[in-house]
Structure formats: C-alpha cells, structure tokens
Amino acid sequence: MNCERYLDLLSARLDGALTQEEERELMQHLQDCDACRAIARELEDIHSALADATRVQPPKELAQGVMERIRAQRTARRTSVRRLGTLAAALVLCVGLYPLLRAMSPVGNTGMVMEAADAEAPMQSARYAEQETAADGALLDTAAEKGKASGQTQNSQAASRNTQEYKYACATQAKKKLRLSDTDGFGKTEAWVLDSVQAMEAFLAPLDGETLSEVTREYDAEFFRTGRLLAVVVREPSSSITHEVTGLDEVRVWVKRRVPQAGDSDIACWLILAEGDECFGSARALDVEWIQE
C-alpha cells in the first residue's frame, strides 16, 4: 500500500488544512492501515509536545548588547579618520553612512548620518584625490564636479548640499586575488560591497564549492561585525594584466590597471577581494572606474 499520500494528509490534518473530502479519504485509510494509524498517533504526540513547549525569557544581555553596539557604531564614526592600506593617494575621510540601494533612490539626511570628521593630508596624485578640504573640514563633492550623468548625480548633489555628509575614499589593500575559470554567473565586470555572510554567499554563489569554501572560511559573522568586503570581478584578454583596487565611494570603485609591454594572451578572469570596515557602507553594487597606468 502506498501510504505516502496519507502521510501528507496526516500532517495537514494537524494544521487543520484538510478538505472534507480529504478528511473522509484519510479516515477510510486509517481504518484499514495499522502502520498509518501508529504514525498518526506519533505525529499527534510530537505535535502536542511542541505545542507544550514553554517560552523562555531572553537574557537581559540581548537588548543591552544591541544598544551597546548601536552606540559604539555611532561613537566610532564620530572619531577621526582612519587611514587604510599603504598605497599612495591616501586621502582618507570618514563619512556618514550613506548607503545606496541598487535602485539608487536618493536618500535624505537621516538620523544615522554622522558628524564631521577630520580630513587627513597629505594628498597625493591619485585621480580622485582632487577633493579639497576647506579650513572647517567641509568637502567638495568631486562626483558632482565630474558631472557624472547617471542617477548618482542626484545623490551626489544632495550630498554636497549637506556639508555633514562626506565621501569616503580609501586606499584598500587587496587581500585575495583568485583566478576564476570563467565568468560563470558573474557579469563581465562587477563590483560589490558585501556587508554580511549572507551577502557574501549570495554574491559568490556562482563559484565552485572549493573556491567558495576558501573564501567563506575566512569571512564569518565575526568579521562582518565591523568588517566589509569589497569584491571586484574583472575579465581580461591577458593574464599578465594586473590590477590594484585603490579606493571606493558610495557609487564606484577605482581600479588601477597595468598592461605590460608583453604578456600572455590568455583570457583571465579574476576575483579581487579587499577588506575594509564599516565605513564601506552597506551591501550594494558599484561601478568600476579604471585608472590606466
């Protein structure tokens, strides 16, 4: 006797999800089938045992811990700038959380935007370090200056209107550069900020198991408490072309690209991972801006 159907009905009955017809059918079967009758009893027992389960009071540390983290995050943003990495062109500024969704809808000044931070000299010759700082630390918005003709311009303009919101440009040090077999599920060139294990795993889903494990092993919930990953996928006609991630802001990442005089002509696909902290902001896609050397 194929009882599988009736097992499903038994489960549905526990949830009161049987039609009259199904109920009749099930009752009929139970009269004839010892096995299903026994299982029905057991499922009932499990059901009532679960229903009996008492609710536990959460420990005080739950709420306390969360509030502490919220306050710590705000304090951290108010303190002065940190310099990341060792690359030149390290004009490092700390910004308020200005996360942009993929849809890039303009976000107004919310309560989470943090206060002014100090800008650090020296300025060197990176392209984006054309920003200038006035005496009181207010910044000019280079994105607006460059007049990017995309939806982001609107946001940049909104940003420059409010002197409390700054761009976060940083020098990052790539931690990993993995060669991929092909772009697989990745777009030709992609860049993302990843702010959680979930985001990371979702982004890395096209990778094969081994490569995926290699990456995810290092970056766990502990890392993402205050850390962020910048992930860039590039596809080049030669594996001899090298890359260096030099900075990012809300909408784009800058990648330096060195094409040697001579090199191999094999198609190479790379996944570059750079580590950063909460200042990178929330998970989002970034445009890639190439800096040719």
């Binding site: 499903d8 489960s11 999800a17 009996d52 969704l101 092993r217």
Partner: protein
Amino acid sequence: MTEQELVQRAQKGDEDSFARLMGENETRIYNLTLRMTGNEQDALDLAQEAFFNAWKGLKFFKGDSSFSTWVYRLATNACIDHLRRKKRRQDISVSMPVVDEEDDRPPDIPDERYAPEQVLERKQLRQAVTRGLEQLSAEHRQVLIMRELDGLSYQEIGQLLGLEAGTVKSRIARARLALRKILVETGNFPPGPSS
C-alpha cells in the same frame, strides 16, 4: 505608541524607540534562535545580530510587512546562515549533534523494552522532541518552528521564505516525518510496523 510610530521614530535615529521595538519582539526572536540553534550562546548572538541588522537596515524598511515580521525574517535568515556555515566547517559529517555528558541515553534501545501500550511521560517526550528538533536539517527545523512554535500559517511561512503555500505544506509534512524518524531511531517511539 503603535509599532508604526516607533518604527518611524527609530528610523530618524531615536534609539529609545528602537529599544522599545526590541522589547516587544525579543522574546519571540530569542525563542526562535534558541530553537534553531539549540544553544543559548548562539541564540543570544544571532538574536543580537538580527536586531542590530534591523537597526542598520531601518532606513530601507518600507513597511510592506510589520516590523515584527521583518525582524523575524532577519532572525530566521541569520539562523539558516549560521547553521549552514557551521555545517560547512565541520570536518566530520555528523547527523547528530554532540551529546551532553549527562545524557548517557544509548542511541538504540531494543524493541523488547517497549510494550506497545506504553506511553512516554509528557515531559520526557517534550525533551526528546526538543532534542530531535535540533537534529533536523536547518530547513526542516525552520518550518516546524514557524508552524508549531510560532503558529504561523502556511501562507505566512510562504511569505517569509519566498515559497508557495503548497511547498510549505509538504515541507512541513517532510519535517514532521523526519522528526518522527529521529524519535524512532533514538528509541522514543517503538519502531512498530514500517509503512
């Protein structure tokens, strides 16, 4: 103040309003993470993570669902992530979690111990079911907790997980049968005639 009002204030940065939202949801969320992970430390960490993510993501919260549904979803996602990572990290493939030192219950109990009419004490069964729940796959555990412990409907579960109600229905059936199988294997139910 309604949940909506609290959310609006919290979105503007009002920490006290957020603290109140937490107060209203922490029991449900903590019980969810506790049932999903089976241990208090992980449950605490994941519940905190869910609320902290809720705080960070507040500006994106559009109010399509209620705040409590949203944070519930964040929590259950965090639990699944955690369990998957834990599973991946394990070098040995285990189908049963590490057993407490005090628990010296043998995994197999011979048939003769059980008379067909014997019924386990309610408390014993409850404990066995809780232990059994922890041995289920993350996905099975998740739907059973949502259905049995939090009383969510197939529809509501479907919305939380992005599944059709019909899929939820059969997943719950599979989960119940898997749990039953565990209880049989651990000697809590007599094996009886197999179907």
